[in-house]
Point group: C2
Chain length 164, copies 2
């Protein structure tokens, strides 16, 4: 049995008790959260989000990439969000990764150059600021005046705001 079969049994129980019918598509709080994919970061729980409250976009590092811009464009232009919250976190797997080592290993194995950056970073605060700067500089997002950035501490559960 794969690990996914376990999760499907959990879903049976979840569906049995489900009480989230009839929620609208557009997030009721008008927020999109951009966070790291880290398994220790449960975005709904740590922000107290209810079903239907906010879009949640996640990738390795929580960094702003073209795909994050695509998602935010859909979020803002088609589904009415206006605020963005970025959530990076302590002990991130992307912090301090030596990109050249990983790309060299991938190239040795696959005989192809990796066609994208891993978006690794050295400093958390700088990385949050860089992501905010990328959003502010993007010409395609209609709402970039309410963007806030945070670092989540995986050992305390606490968010700390990064001042621009």
């Amino acid at each position: 049995m794969s690990a996914v079969d376990d999760l499907l049994m959990n879903n049976e129980e979840f569906a049995w008790k489900f009480d989230g019918r009839g929620l609208p598509r557009s997030p009721s709080r008008g927020i999109a959260v951009v966070a790291c994919m880290d398994a220790r970061v449960d975005v709904y729980r740590l922000l107290g989000l209810a079903l239907g409250d906010a879009h949640v976009i996640r990738n390795a590092g929580g960094v702003v990439t073209e795909d994050v811009v695509r998602s935010l464009l859909v979020s803002q232009r088609l589904l009415g969000t206006r605020e963005i919250a970025l959530v990076h976190h302590t002990d991130c797997g992307m912090q301090g990764v030596r990109e050249e080592d990983v790309t060299a290993q991938v190239q040795a194995e696959t005989a192809r150059p990796l066609p994208f950056s891993l978006e690794a970073f050295d400093d958390l605060v700088t990385s949050v600021r860089e992501s905010i700067a990328r959003l502010r500089a993007n010409p395609f997002l209609p709402h970039t005046d309410r963007i806030r950035g945070f670092i989540y501490d995986v050992e305390t559960g606490r968010l700390a705001e990064v001042r621009p």
Copy 2:
């Protein structure tokens, strides 16, 4: 007060009760979930995931893009996951979107062509299969033998598997 300030008050309460210390970086179930950003899709709850169990990657539509491949590459090569579960859902905002209308509107407002596809789709099952096919065809992911795709029903809370 912005909507984010509300969420920060929720976080104070969350941190007060936090009991997630000492979890390792690598997901304990060895799974990465790729899901849509939709506000009604609480991935942890609907799969019964505990803190630390699985990477959670999310974007508009839950479709496999280059950034999803980047995240999965990090997930598999640096953090040891081997299985992938894709979660699309009913009533998705990306379903049936007329890309040409949105891109024309963006271009009219910004005087620039949109440099990426919105990744809209017409049929949910086809979209899940297309995402699975993109993963299987990708040369950079070491583990593509255990990929499963699902459609989550936002009205019942139930996952239905899409057979390849």
